[in-house]
Amino acid sequence: MAKGALKISQDHVYVQTLDEGAQVGISDFAAEALGTIIYVELPEVGDEVRKNEPFAAVESGKASVELPAPISGTVLKVNEELEDAPDLINQDTYSKGWIAVLAITDGAELEELMSKPDYDLFVASGEEE
């Protein structure tokens, strides 16, 4: 399946557009910062998610971290492999570690996200707000 541009939110959640819908997951930087992920709370297929509202959670070292949705949409698919192997996110978040596929409600929201090079600058600068 052809992949479009990778976009990432200030909350370290990425969107990778596909032919149909877009994969969302956490950035490589966030995966590294969280350490080994031991549990992923997935959304359910059919859930409506709203930009900036939590749509999933990941847990590492007794801390559960809610993930704000980078865009609004409807959940088309969830990555059930994460139920048995949550650390796929640590291994390769941009391919095997995706969390859900969303049908995007408003494509214009993608424009508000950073490109990967811009995101890398954003995290390197250490200033998140």
């Binding site: 969280l34 549990y39 939590p54 801390a63 559960s64 809610e66």
Partner: protein, 238 residues
Amino acid sequence: MITKGDGWIVNLGEARYLQVLDLQRNLVDLRQKDSVPDTLLLVEHEPVITLGRRASKANILSTSAVLASEGIQVHPVERGGDVTYHGPGQLVAYPIVHLTQRALSLRRFVDLLEDTITQVLAAFGIQAGRNPQHRGVWVSHRKVAALGVAIRRWVSFHGIALNVSPNMDHFCHINPCELRSEQVTSMAELLGKAPSMEEVVQNVVDRFVELFPGKWREVSPAKLSGKIKAEPMQNVAL
């Protein structure tokens, strides 16, 4: 205007679990908007069992009828970790801290919470530390403080619960975080007598303020309610 390093310390005394959960969620929301500074809540709850996001109900050992007869409620919550118990004689600290404003990684934050409790215990002559397999604060192979935090948009909530002198029999209702209940201890057990809760609270505040530097000041529960325009917390007899 909230400036970096400001903070409120609020000793709620004895307060209901769900009421304090609401307060925490409210504070997290306000903290994200910079409407309140970092806040440390200190509280003792009524007997209650809470389940973290990945909790297994199998780790609650008593039937719901037994729990009901003892007046112990069970609440699923959004923190990390498995099953835990709160009750009178256990001091719970809930830090509502903006991690990115303090440039804290999640791991560092959790370490600092554990260090706070380890240093408090040292002040009482108890040598405690980490366990490589499990979070929390340990005295050899027994857990004296349980940890489970949640992060919502880089603001922490939930926290760490130190067993000062709780009813240890209540831990038999659960497998606390996949451990057997006999692997849990309290300051009272370790010292041979219950320390004063007031003294423990003061030690937790002192150590916390050192490890999370800033201009912390004590705010009464009534003042806090006024500041965040919330219903005043009702003090309950536990």
